[in-house]
């Protein structure tokens, strides 16, 4: 990491870590909000314990929240913390290997007693064993100082102890010269009806701030200047929330009601939660009995004229395969969101991975083409949910939108859009005065059929999963008709290439090496390429949001580089797809399958190796 330190001076990565019950998510969110208001660019990544609450004080029970703030553009939550706040021994144990030597670690020594470090799995007392010797350690009795600060306020013990996260936050606010008012306002709102708790929290916050000042927690308290971001109104948004909002916007723009058929699953459930809140926008969130009912209810809603979507994660997409084939065969507009997680099977449910691409492309019987797109970052989820809806409605075909756990749970400043600012969506429907409408007659350019919904008199018709005549839609077992229909369904998807943006290249426009990625690795790759460029390494970066079909200029872009390396968080899925689609190129690949995002350093190293011919 030494080589990159210079570029990273204008940014800082802070990780808050403690027990599940210690309120670390809230602490992190507060720091994020305050920094956003100061105009910093930010990226965050919460890191929950896996699935079930584990026993207190154990590594399995550690909850973390990492935030990356900076004055220049931030694309990832950061590789490694510059500051780690460890509320107990387990939090230290779980995170220390990620903190580069020389960085700062704040420790609540009240939770580093023998029983604490034993439970955390340290063989020796970490404060003495030397594991911390290369770090800048700030030992603070956070718990006991909080207790003291709140003495006499009349709060019960539990509430007092719970306030210690505010004490820690106060310390960090001082260290980075953040104001306290954002959090004070937040606390006022949150505990509007619990005056005492509000007071306790604010008191703890200030006590921490003052304590840091007193001990001069950092030799020089550093401030991060605002980032250079496009003018506009911003708010902080999480990936899943952005996805939900993208659909709400698309429905409004298309003049349709939104129908979501879904079954809860980590890490996709929040999309369901969010849409459930807004039924009055004509958004029907239907929690089905399982994933199959989720998609089939959506198919029914699409048939009846709603903007129909279904959301899930990998195992759920596997279950939806058969029904997705029905949507392909009947040619209905439908968006399927897969928030990818570690697989196979139940796998690593709370971790991230990009290993559902093949499933999205091929996980159904027969020749069953769908549009496949992916979101690059939390805020980009909004754009891709909107775009997926537009493509589905305008091309009358199912679309699979791939996001992942990393993007879904991460957050990012989002330049707020208003519905007026968005592209039009014109659902491909038959008009009442269309002569001799036939269910499978097509637009000659897009090959989309013209939708008609129940309720329209004189247009009664039947569709289904059997092969159908290419015009009337009646059942047809005719061999040539089948071949024609198979080809039309594929061609219709391929023609979408005429309606999507070209592939862009970041960094060098041509030359030695093109780094190719897709979806949620955008931030890591962009940062890595920026660093490489700053170091004078001649690399370009092409990132796919549109995978099937590929952008029209893909071959042209690939042709401009001597080497191509495809970087993915899987065992090589996009690269194999590219080998099938554009066999004329040679592809190198770089894969990581650890349930974790790429680290920028890993990428720059790999790029350097390739450039060096290794």
């Amino acid at each position: 990491m030494g080589t990159t330190a210079v570029q990273e001076l204008d940014k800082v990565v802070i990780k808050f870590a403690g027990d599940s019950g210690d309120g670390m998510q809230l602490t992190g969110t507060q720091f994020t909000g305050t920094s956003a208001l100061l105009g910093n660019d930010i990226a965050t990544f919460p890191d929950y314990p896996a699935e079930i609450r584990a026993p207190q004080g154990t590594v399995a029970g550690v909850s973390g929240f990492q935030v990356h703030i900076g004055q220049t553009h931030i694309y990832t939550p950061g590789d490694q913390p510059d500051v780690l706040v460890a509320m107990n021994a387990a939090a230290l144990k779980a995170n220390i290997s990620e903190v580069p030597r020389g960085k700062t670690i704040i420790i609540d020594i009240d939770n580093f007693k023998r029983k604490d470090w034993e439970k955390a799995g340290f063989a020796e007392d970490p404060l003495e064993s030397g594991v911390l010797k290369d770090y800048h350690v700030i030992e603070a009795p956070i718990t006991s100082l909080t207790r003291k600060a709140l003495e006499g306020l009349g709060l019960d013990n539990k509430s007092i102890t719970r306030s210690k996260n505010m004490f820690a936050l106060g310390m960090v606010y001082w260290m980075f010269s953040r104001p306290l008012d954002y959090t004070e306002r937040f606390l006022k709102d949150k505990f509007a009806k619990k005056e005492l708790i509000y007071e306790g929290n604010v008191k703890a916050l200030k006590a921490g701030y003052n304590y840091a000042e007193t001990i001069e927690a950092l030799s020089s308290a550093s401030t991060i200047l605002p980032a250079d971001m496009a003018p506009g109104l911003y708010k902080n948004i999480m990936g899943n929330e952005a996805t939900a909002w993208g659909f709400l916007a698309a429905a409004e723009k298309a003049g349709k009601e939104l129908f979501l058929g879904s079954y809860p699953i980590t890490p996709a459930s929040e999309i369901l939660h969010e849409i459930s809140k807004h039924k009055h926008f004509g958004a029907k969130a239907f929690q089905a009995e399982d994933e199959i009912a989720g998609i089939t209810s959506a198919i029914g809603a699409a048939f009846a004229g709603d903007l129909a979507i279904t959301t899930t994660s990998g195992p759920g997409l596997a279950l939806k395969g058969e029904a997705l084939g029905l949507a392909v065969m009947t040619e209905l507009p439908l968006v399927v969101v897969d928030v990818q997680r570690g697989g196979p099977s139940t796998g690593l449910p709370t971790k991230t991975e990009q290993s559902d691409l093949m499933q999205a492309l091929y996980g159904r019987n027969g020749e069953s083409p769908v549009i496949v797109v992916a979101a690059k970052s939390p805020a980009h989820c909004f754009d891709m949910a909107f775009m997926a809806s537009k493509l589905a409605l305008e091309h009358v075909t199912p679309v699979v939108l791939l996001t992942d756990g990393y993007v879904a749970n991460g957050s990012q400043p989002w330049r707020i859009k208003q519905v007026e600012d968005l592209d039009d969506i014109v659902p491909h429907e038959a008009s009442k005065n269309m002569m001799n409408w036939q269910p499978y007659e097509r637009d000659t350019a897009s090959l989309a059929r013209y939708m008609v919904y129940p309720g329209m008199a004189g247009y009664e018709h039947r569709i289904g999963g059997l092969e159908k005549d290419h015009i009337t839609g009646n059942i047809s077992y005719d061999p040539r008709n089948h071949e024609e229909m198979v080809r039309i369904r594929e061609e219709k998807v391929q023609r979408v290439a005429n309606y999507i943006p070209d592939l862009e290249v970041q960094g060098e426009e041509s030359g030695e090496l093109l780094v190719v990625g897709w979806g949620g690795t955008y931030g890591s790759l962009t940062t890595a390429i920026n660093q490489c460029q700053a170091q004078g390494r001649p690399v370009g970066h092409a990132h796919f949001s549109f995978i099937k079909p590929l952008p029209k200029n893909t071959a042209e872009v690939f042709g401009r580089f001597k080497k191509i390396v495809v970087c993915e968080l899987n065992n090589g899925q996009l690269v194999n797809y590219l080998r099938g689609e554009l066999p004329q190129f040679d592809y190198l690949q770089y894969n990581k399958i650890q349930g974790l995002p790429f680290r920028v350093a890993e990428l720059t190293e790999k790029i350097a190796d390739i450039l060096a011919g290794k």
Binding site: L233, K279, T296, I299, A308, G455, H461, I463
Partner: protein, 337 residues
């Protein structure tokens, strides 16, 4: 294509131009005819009618109705139909299904549709066999019956659809034989009228793979004594001359003959299809001899979509977000200039 300008349909208006392709003699023909006959009386414009089905011989049904139709995949029609209805509650949504489609692969969607009480009319063609795949046993095949996939006889207990429906908190259950067009029409009309999920089990004969499975009930010589047709508010009588009836003995229903052992019409149970408590309905659904036809249960309660509507109105009143734009600009925001 012109707009249908009148509601004065005849049953022919509901016949599509597709050739009907069931085996000659299949019970499905009579059901189709009865549905087509009843549609004009239901009083809904045909463009507002949707027939949804899964897969099976019975599930070909939508092709033969000149309404909107969706022949979907095996077992999933209840969920698909739910989506149709929620997307557009003004539609009249019918689901056609077989005993395999509804109770084998589709069992879960079936019981959940029932639980939610979405206003669907579900016609279950129970021929106690998988017709389309040429004769394997289904979840309603009699214990011990030999079929293609049970060459030595089945060893699983069958479901009784009525018990399952009511156990899944079903509000409407009726049963009728494919040999009784008049009763079919009456029952279908009741189902259409009932708001909420209506299940009609049709004792349907598959001439090819399970011929005469209901002959013990439906054969001319057995009908009067082996089937009891009940009606809300009427005493439960049966027999060629209504000389028999049902009474309660302990916790069980029993068939008795009027005049014997001092039994008079007073003793005969009077049918209350509308009551909430399902105990008697369950007994009626379970009864094997005589088997009960007619509307067994028709308890009225809010439908899912009614509750949804109420909820939406409530949110409209209370939400601080009046539009999507409101929502987007809500919470902490900051301006960069």
């Amino acid at each position: 294509m012109e707009k249908t300008e009148t509601l004065e349909y005849t049953y022919k208006d509901f016949a599509s131009d597709q050739e009907v392709r069931w085996c000659p003699g299949c019970g499905d023909y009579a059901i189709l005819k009865s549905v087509q006959k009843v549609m004009p009386e239901v009083g809904i414009r045909k463009e507002d009618v949707v027939f949804v089905s899964g897969i099976g011989c019975s599930s070909r049904f939508p092709y033969y109705m000149d309404t909107y139709g969706f022949h979907s995949i095996h077992g999933r029609a209840p969920a698909l139909a739910t989506g149709v209805k929620l997307a557009n509650p003004s539609l009249s949504v019918w689901q056609i299904t077989g005993d395999g489609d509804a109770l084998a692969i589709g069992g879960n969607h079936f019981i959940h549709a029932i639980r939610r009480n979405v206003d669907l009319n579900i016609l279950l063609f129970n021929n106690r066999i998988y017709g389309l795949t040429k004769g394997q046993f289904s979840p309603t095949t009699d214990l011990g019956q030999k079929t293609k996939s049970s060459p030595q006889g089945t060893i699983d207990n069958p479901f009784n659809p009525g018990e399952l429906v009511i156990g899944a908190s079903g509000h409407f259950f009726a049963r009728v034989a494919d040999t009784n067009p008049k009763l079919m029409q009456a029952v279908f009309k009741e189902a259409a009228k009932h708001s909420g999920t209506s299940i009609v089990e049709i004792m349907q004969n598959c001439v090819i793979f399970n011929d005469k499975v209901y002959a013990n009930y439906t054969a001319k010589e057995n009908r009067a004594d082996h089937i009891i047709t009940i009606e809300h508010g009427k005493p439960m009588l049966f027999g060629a001359n209504n000389e028999k009836g049902l009474v309660l003995r302990g916790f069980k229903l029993e068939a008795v003959t009027l005049g014997e052992n001092g039994i008079t019409e007073e003793d005969i149970l009077v049918h209350d299809a509308y009551e909430e408590d399902n105990t008697v309905h369950m007994m009626l659904a379970k009864l094997k001899m005589p088997i009960v036809n007619g509307v067994i249960r028709a308890y009225k309660d809010d439908t899912f979509e009614m509750r949804l509507k109420k909820q939406v109105e409530e949110i409209e009143r209370t939400s601080k977000f009046k539009s999507v734009n409101d929502l987007f600009t809500s919470g902490e925001t900051w301006e960069i200039k």
